[in-house]
């Protein structure tokens, strides 16, 4: 199957649309980094204004680690939309072009083609995430330096020592790859249902928005299904930044408050990926290629 994965990767590499997402991420991150570099102290003062009377913070609050956290909070909501731009076009775009019949009259089976396309879309997604990590984490570390990570949650603050932060980001990015692959798989499923490019992209984005609203609303009827919705779990990369404390309320270095929650989310997301891709294969095997 490797030759067809290579072909799919080559096509992604040659398509101008591929670079929109990379360009958009770079532009957003660089603009935010530039803004914070110029006016970051004022921003940090604004963040801290409620606790300045009760807490004295030494060191550099606005360091590369905090910048990365801010960027991920902003971007990991929007990156799925960029992933959908490619993943939701993988099958329907070919149907729209008419090239699906070129592929499906080769000796490779439809299942192999669909899986190869998903692997290629996944590699694209991972590369996008690596690009995001490079800009958001490494560039921020380079521009702003590093220090302890000080996070303000809704009703508590978290302070993670500098040497205990980096691996958490690695974990968060690995987790985010599951979230984004779920989006890619959903886009893929939508793509298998249509013969045009725009419909599946819009449908994927709409589905994410719809399920995100269901995940957010605190209504008893929706609470039953919430644990099983992929959107409930997509943002749980933040769990890597909640830390256990000992009896003296001191942070335990290297600990995560709720490991089980992360594991559960990864399992739910993996099941969704499997279901979405499996359904795509089934639909494409049954489909008459009329385009």
């Amino acid at each position: 199957m490797w030759p067809i994965i290579q072909i799919e990767l080559f096509k992604i590499y040659k398509r101008p649309r591929t670079y929109i997402a990379f360009g958009a991420i770079a532009a957003l991150i660089l603009v935010i980094q530039m803004g914070l570099k110029i006016d970051g102290e004022a921003y940090a003062a604004f963040l801290m204004k409620d606790i300045n009377d009760t807490l004295t913070v030494d060191g550099k609050v606005l360091n590369g680690y905090l910048i990365c956290y801010i960027l991920l909070q902003l971007l990991l909501v929007h990156v799925p939309l960029l992933v959908a731009l490619i993943a939701a076009d993988m099958l329907s775009g070919e149907a729209n072009l008419g090239t699906l019949r070129l592929l499906f009259t080769t000796p490779y089976s439809r299942t192999q083609w669909v899986l190869a396309k998903f692997v290629a879309a996944s590699i694209y997604t991972i590369l996008l995430l690596i690009w995001l990590a490079f800009l958001a984490l490494f560039m921020s570390m380079w521009i702003f330096g590093t220090d302890d990570l000080f996070l303000m949650k809704s009703n508590y603050v978290v302070l993670i020592q500098e040497q205990d932060v980096f691996w958490r980001y690695l974990g968060a990015f690995v987790f985010a790859s599951f979230s984004l692959l779920t989006v890619a798989a959903l886009g893929f499923l939508m793509s298998s249902l249509a013969n045009n490019s725009i419909g599946p992209i819009v449908a994927t984005i709409s589905a994410i928005v719809f399920f995100t609203i269901l995940s957010t609303l605190n209504i008893p009827l929706f609470n039953v299904v919430k644990p099983y919705l992929f959107t409930t779990h997509m943002n749980n990369w933040k769990e890597f930044f909640d830390i256990q404390v000992n009896d003296s309320n001191d942070a335990i270095t290297g600990s995560i408050l709720n490991v089980a929650k992360i594991k559960n989310s990864i399992i739910i997301l993996t099941i969704h990926i499997g279901l979405f891709v499996g359904a795509s294969v089934w639909i494409m095997k049954k489909k008459d290629i009329l385009s």
């Binding site: 072009l97 008419g98 090239t99 019949r101 070129l102 490779y108 089976s109 009329l290």
Partner: protein
């Protein structure tokens, strides 16, 4: 030996029966012409031969093997251009051929790719993106992709679409050469009946998904089976007189007009019979080109 053997092939899309109990055989080395009006079921049949569309009913054997059981092995030996030459606009001709070369079991060398580009007349534009190509150039690249792996069976659906006269002549020559010099089997459909007439050795005509006629071109254009169209002032009266005569078995069933199939040499006798029977004859016309035959079969039912 039959390269393609189709038995009782049907395909329905909801209530529409696109192909209805179609059976035919294509022998090795033949150039098999597939004729039919738009919507007659040609492309649906070709797509079923390439496993793009699942048949509702029927059986397809290619190279003596069931298509449903041996799809991969069969498609390894087929090259096809289906309707429009749809390609990737952001890739060059060279990149297209290089990509599709990877999909074949046998190693396709760079020299073979270059030879194929030359064969379809795209060598000078090999490194230009397809989005800059004319329709004819795209069609030629599509044919290049189909021929790249030296397939035994070549299926071409409307291969001369969009080509200029020289391009059409080149493709015609190429198809003849593939069959005559290389022993390839070619199934070709076209709306240009004159094209089929010039290149095909055997012809299948379908209409509304059903087989109308099949056989060697020489038999379809057999002077012993000349189609004669008779126009009269009173077709009903003329028809009754013909039914009551020796020409009853020569009458073709049509909803409109009067048609008979008779040996060309007997046309004068038919003419004499019409005159002696006091049929008010307006015209009597012998149809012996493939186009006439095709139109007779498909337009008057």
């Amino acid at each position: 030996m039959s390269v393609i053997k189709v038995q009782g092939l049907s395909k329905s899309f909801g209530a529409l029966k696109a192909v209805d109990q179609l059976s035919f055989e294509v022998e090795a080395g033949q150039v098999y012409g597939f004729l039919g009006q738009n919507g007659s079921g040609k492309s649906t049949t070709i797509r079923m031969l390439l496993s793009l569309i699942h048949p509702t009913q029927g059986h397809i054997e290619i190279f003596g093997q069931s298509l449903s059981d041996n799809r991969s092995a069969i498609l390894e030996q087929i090259g096809a251009v289906i309707e429009r030459p749809d390609l990737y606009p952001y890739l060059t001709a060279q990149e297209h051929l290089t990509l599709f070369a990877k999909l074949r079991k046998q190693k396709i060398t760079a020299a073979k790719i270059e030879a194929t580009l030359a064969q379809v007349g795209l060598l000078s534009r090999a490194n230009d993106k397809v989005q800059t190509y004319s329709l004819g150039m795209k069609q030629r690249l599509g044919i290049g992709i189909a021929l790249l792996h030296d397939p035994q069976l070549i299926i071409l659906d409307e291969p001369t679409n969009g080509l200029d006269p020289q391009g059409i002549a080149d493709i015609r020559q190429l198809i003849k050469s593939l069959s005559k010099d290389q022993g390839k089997t070619v199934l070709v459909s076209s709306h240009l009946l004159s094209e089929i007439e010039q290149i095909a050795s055997h012809i299948l005509i379908i209409h509304q998904g059903k087989k109308m006629a099949e056989g060697p071109k020489s038999s379809l254009l057999d002077p012993n089976k000349t189609i004669v169209q008779i126009k009269t002032l009173d077709d009903q009266d003329a028809k009754q007189k013909l039914i009551a005569s020796v020409y009853q078995s020569n009458l073709l069933e049509r909803t409109e007009g009067l048609y008979l199939t008779i040996p060309k040499l007997e046309i004068p006798a038919l003419n004499a019979f019409i005159v002696s029977s006091n049929i008010d004859l307006v015209s009597l016309e012998a149809k012996n080109s493939l186009e006439d035959y095709f139109l007779q079969l498909t337009s008057t039912f």
